[in-house]
């Protein structure tokens, strides 16, 4: 159970884009098509290895519902990474990205690594948002971009791990103040 770093992630985005499914796929490697609506926040955790260092990802999967927004915002604080998720089959979820991004930037560290995720890539036939659109939005706002499928698990591992790699890089560069900001090096247990 010992690890070198603990990264807090938040998963944000409109309701029904598959945030909880992504988490479940990453932590449990399974897909559950019917899901209860997330109340407030759900949690998941997994250990990964970067540069032969054990890193624990503590993931806060927030509720996408508008009514929970004021509460979920409170949970952004202290996050080292964020997965901003939209549904490639629903244009409106892509259109809301700006508000989500503003919210995230406002309530968390400016150094937080944000990964833009276009989910449900398996539903190519129903695609409403082109891959290029996502790519350009990411470029514009300085985000990493990836299209994933929680159902087929395509790119799910990569999405979480690449974010961690970016955070780790920032730590090596000394951008993150490990003690004060978002990362707690063995801050409890062990």
């Amino acid at each position: 159970m010992s690890y070198a770093y603990l990264f807090k992630y938040i998963i944000i985005g409109d309701t029904g884009v598959g945030k909880s499914c992504l988490l479940l796929q990453f932590t449990d490697k399974r897909f559950q098509p019917v899901h209860d609506l997330t109340i407030g926040v759900e949690f998941g955790a997994r250990m990964i290895t970067i540069d032969s260092k054990q890193i624990k990802l503590q993931i806060w999967d927030t509720a996408g519902q508008e009514s929970f927004r004021s509460i979920t915002r409170s949970y952004y604080r202290g996050a080292a990474g964020a997965l901003l998720v939209y549904d490639i089959t629903r244009r409106d979820t892509f259109n809301h990205l700006t508000t989500w991004l503003e919210d995230a930037r406002q309530h968390s560290s400016s150094n937080m690594v944000i990964m833009l995720i276009g989910n449900k890539s398996d539903l190519e036939a129903r695609r409403e948002v082109k891959r290029e659109e996502g790519e350009s939005f990411a470029r514009e706002h300085g985000l990493i971009f990836m299209e994933t499928s929680a159902k087929t698990a395509a790119n799910v591992e990569e999405a979480f791990i690449d974010t961690a790699k970016e955070i780790y890089k920032k730590i090596q560069e000394g951008v993150f103040d490990i003690n004060n900001e978002v990362l707690f090096e063995n801050w409890f247990l062990c």
Binding site: M1, I39, G40, V41, F43, G44, A45, Q58, W60, S67, F68, S70, I71, S74, Y75, R77, F188, L189
Partner: protein
């Protein structure tokens, strides 16, 4: 009286100095008189206990002194002890014996005196000592004379003169006694001459080297060092002081000598202690054996203890291994208990901040109303922390039913299914465990039971905290629309949930302990099991307090809800 005479003769033979000879002989006479005039002295003592006490003290010192004298036989020593008492109780015989003691003492002193004088005539500290000795020699002489006075005055009545004489005698005996102790210890205990000791500690060439390199400070340093090592500056050194360094070196020599005297005194006391021990053990032959018994147990005992200790250690280690394998904190984290708690804390903190900002904006009337509402909720929480005693034993009623009732009463679109499921799993496990243990006691190993206990406790605790967090979120979210249940009511319903959970946990601890006990009867591994059972109870009570602490975090949330309902 034969004894006295022989001792006096001895003295005359031993001492070479005429004056000394006279003194010791004279003193012998004087003391004899003391012996014969014991009556008067004692009578005096009746009224002036003080004086006699001091006299007695000085005699006592002498007797201690004799004890340390290796030349003296045990008989002589005990006699001396008797004498000191006899000064108070008239008994002429032993009093005469005491004279032997003192005169022999004198003999030794004069010998020491002689050697000192011949060896180191110019040694300044020795000069001081000689003077001291002379004074007490004369005072001893005086004591011999003064002891005559009370004898005479006793017949002519009690005059002030005789009082003074008695006082004089007492003090002089005391001082002589004291200095005699020190000198006697030095000479008779075989403590080597200070000079010799120093020579041993500092070989001659080394000493010279130091002097040539840095004469003055080195000398002082060496003096201090010498005194630390219970050695002293010898005569030749003192001479060199005089010739080469004059007064400054003289003063340094005096200080070093002083230090050296002190350390010598300490060394002497140590030797006295050792000697006393020997004397005690001589008097009581069983003493040594007794002491040995206290100190060293028999070999078999040592081996038995070592075996017991290693067995205990092994058992502890084994328990430790099990404890390390399953750790509540790790398990609690695995069930996301820490994350739930962190989220609940975040909500609680934010609500606290919100309460403050709301109260600041309120006007007087509203402020009073708001404060009374806040207080009402606080009271519910206050009650919760005090009435822990009236624990309703609701073990028989279904846990899920109880929790469901409370959750319903909260009137939030939330059913604590996860908590109920966790409890259900535990109940099932306990049932199965009891069934298995009935058919075969060894079906469950204590370690397995323990791991299950910790895991399930972590689970139920994490789920309870999750309930609190979710309820908080719901309350904060729903507030604007729904006001059918007041925040105060919700507080008491949430308290009911807390109570149901903690009661269940405490009943679980009993069930788990039973399981462990059954498992133990089979394995006969009692040493290993007792700490495990203790650990189970401990973890259960820890879990209960985690749940209660989490409940307390709800206070600001409910207060915010109450404030919102005012709008």
């Amino acid at each position: 009286m034969d004894n006295v005479n022989s001792s006096v003769n001895d003295l005359e033979d031993a001492s070479s100095d005429g004056e000394e000879d006279f003194e010791s002989a004279d003193e012998g006479e004087g003391k004899e008189k003391v012996g014969s005039t014991n009556d008067s002295v004692v009578r005096n003592s009746d009224e002036t206990g003080n004086v006699n006490m001091t006299g007695n003290l000085s005699e006592g010192m002498e007797s201690i002194h004799f004890k340390t004298d290796s030349d003296k036989s045990a008989r002589g020593e005990t006699n001396n002890l008797v004498i000191t008492e006899n000064i108070l109780e008239p008994s002429p015989g032993p009093a005469v014996d005491s004279n032997i003691g003192t005169s022999c003492d004198k003999d030794n002193i004069s010998k020491a005196h002689d050697t000192d004088e011949t060896d180191t005539p110019s040694d300044s500290p020795n000069v001081v000592e000689n003077e001291e000795r002379n004074t007490h020699n004369t005072s001893a002489h005086e004591s011999g004379e003064s002891s005559n006075v009370p004898a005479e005055s006793a017949s002519s009545g009690w005059g002030w003169g005789s009082w003074g004489a008695v006082l004089n005698q007492a003090t002089s005996t005391m001082t002589s006694g004291l200095s005699q102790v020190i000198e006697k210890v030095e000479t008779t205990l075989g403590i080597p001459e200070p000079g010799e000791l120093q020579d041993e500690a500092f070989p001659k060439d080394e000493k010279n080297e130091v002097i040539t390199m840095e004469p003055k400070p080195a000398e002082i340093d060496r003096g201090v060092e010498g005194s630390k090592n219970s050695t002293g500056t010898d005569g030749s050194n003192a001479e060199s002081f005089f010739s080469s360094w004059g007064l400054t070196s003289l003063s340094s020599a005096v200080t070093s000598r002083g230090l050296e005297l002190v350390s010598e005194g300490i060394g002497a006391l140590e030797t006295i202690g050792k000697k006393t021990m020997d004397v005690i053990s001589e008097g009581d032959p069983g003493f040594r054996v007794k002491r040995e018994m206290f100190k060293k147990p028999s070999l078999s005992q040592i081996l038995r203890e070592a075996k017991e200790e290693s067995a205990k250690e092994a058992a502890e280690k084994k328990t430790q291994e099990v404890l390390e394998k399953v750790n509540f904190n790790d398990e609690f984290d695995r069930y996301q208990g820490l994350a739930h708690l962190e989220a609940l804390e975040i909500l609680s903190r934010e609500c606290e901040a919100r309460i403050e900002s709301v109260l600041i904006d309120l006007f007087e009337d509203d402020l009073e109303k708001a404060k009374s509402k806040l207080r009402a909720i606080e009271d519910v929480f206050g009650k919760a922390s005090t009435d822990e005693e009236d624990r309703e034993e609701s073990i028989n009623t279904e846990f899920a039913v109880e929790i469901g009732k409370c959750a319903m009463a909260l009137n939030l679109a939330f059913v604590p299914n996860k908590l109920n499921q966790a409890e259900e799993l535990i109940s099932k496990w306990l049932e199965e465990c009891a069934k298995d243990q009935k058919t075969s006691v060894s079906s469950r190993s204590p370690d397995d039971i323990y791991s299950h206990v910790i895991t399930s406790l972590a689970d139920i605790t994490a789920k309870s905290i999750e309930v609190f967090r979710k309820v908080s979120e719901m309350i904060l979210m729903v507030d604007d629309q729904d006001n059918t249940v007041t925040a105060e009511d919700r507080a008491s319903h949430l308290y009911s949930i807390t109570k149901v959970v903690t009661n269940r946990i405490s009943s679980l601890s009993t069930s788990y302990a039973q399981c462990l006990n059954t498992a133990v009867n089979e394995t006969e591994d009692n040493d290993n099991i007792t700490p495990l059972i203790t650990e189970v109870y401990l973890e259960c009570s820890n879990s209960s307090s985690h749940v209660q602490d989490a409940f307390k975090l709800l206070l600001p949330v409910l207060q915010v809800s109450a404030l919102n309902s005012m709008k």
